[in-house]
């Protein structure tokens, strides 16, 4: 079992969460070329090692999180709220 330390709820089993995907994708502007959109939607780095990825605490607070996790050892380095403003709120409340 992977344990994810949700900034809102505390440390929980990963079975409470659902995996989203690569958290580093920047979607291009609406008038960007087909090539850029194809790259953003379909193509992935598929990192072997530490990556930033999204998880949804779907059976908990239902917030989206950015988790820094190794795809080889499953070790987690950091967990933050997805939204940058919520990140600030969480940090200010520490």
């Amino acid at each position: 079992m992977i344990r994810i330390n949700c900034p809102y709820c505390g440390e929980r089993d990963h079975s409470e969460f659902s995996y989203g995907g690569d958290a580093t994708i920047n979607y291009p502007s609406l008038d960007a070329s087909e090539k850029e959109w194809t790259e953003a939607i379909f193509f992935r780095k598929n990192i072997k090692g530490y990556q930033f990825e999204t998880w949804h605490h779907s059976n908990g607070c239902r917030m989206w999180l950015v988790v820094e996790r190794s795809t080889v050892t499953h070790e987690i380095k950091s967990v933050k709220p997805c939204h940058p403003n919520l990140q600030k709120v969480v940090e200010n409340n520490k």
């Binding site: 079992m1 990963h14 995996y19 995907g21 992935r44 990825e53 795809t71």
Partner: protein
Amino acid sequence: MTKFNAWNVIKNGLNGQSYWTRQWRDPEPKSSYDVVIIGGGLHGLATAYYLAKNHNIKNVAVLEKGWIGGGNAGRNTTIVRSNYMMPGNHEFYEHSLKLWENLSHELNYNVMFSQRAHVSLFHSPGAKDSVSRIYNIMRLHGTDAELWDLKTLKKKIPHLNYHNSRFPILGAAVQKRAGNARHDAVAWGYARAADTLGVDILQNCEVTGFTRKNGNIESIQTSKGIIKGKKIGFAVAGNTSVLWQMAELGNLPIESHKLQAFVSEAVKPLLDQVVVYGVGGAHFYISQSDKGSMVFGGDLDWYKSYAQRGNLPMVQDVAEAAMAIFPSLGRIRLLRHWAGVMDMTMDGSFFICKTPISNLYLNAGWNYGGFKASPASGWYFADLIANESPHNYVQNHNLERFEKGINIDERGAGPDPKLHG
């Protein structure tokens, strides 16, 4: 290599089994080859075999970082079927099934292919309509497919749970020519047959880098020294992205996920078919091996991973699905379980295609279905490497299909790799 036939079996039986030769050589790498296949799994070995057999290209090496049959070749549930619907896919998998039907003779090696029928249960009128559509499409293309009503199903498989009131079994979609095979024998059979035709199988030979020259890959750095190849093929399911980035080619429409499989202790004959059950978020498939073990599996672990070991929540999920459909398994003990790393693609279909590097060819993205595809995968990948252009069946199985909007999405699940089960 001594051929397997009645005469040699009798001769060796009288001589204390002392005249068998080894199945394949353990050669030192040559400095260069016409074709180098990276990945000594079923697809890599099959490709090497068909290069030599169909295209007379015999100066071929297969590089394997571990031992052959030690990767996903030995981490699957050995199911062979061809119940696909999309253009390209159904022709491809049907050809694969036809190759399976003659594979033991072709390779002079008993791969224990057993056409015991693939029985896919349905639990609602909607599911019946949906599967009828797929199986009708299969029939129109000449693949065998049929529907069993409840009476037939109860007669054929009496000990399923027919009293589940939430997901009652209404019948099953059946492919009778489908079944399973012995995975190790397939790897060994292809290795032995390819080796006989002159292919070098280089085990414990890990690729560590590539040297580029004029846009091509000139040579491959490996743990056994530098090896040159005029043409190079990738067949390394699970680790495709790693090699792809080693060749500085950027991103791929692939995520690596792990899929678990399970084997129980051996029991008396209980199940004579492959049974598949998928409803209410559960996904479960089961068959009985010739030894008597129940071999079964379920869904991915649902998060990206390169670890070849499974996590516990999925063990529980699979056990629950087993109990829902097969309550008689309740007290059976699990002998072992393992996970293999899958290339999960953005539309659930594979890649057999050219790449931005002119002497590099790609075979990847097999999702849940690499085992059954092995013979045709080798066949058409060898064809692509030898003839420089893809066969009609695989002409859209390339990396450009996403930009063109011609995704081959059997399940209609969209660009989320983990959903293409």
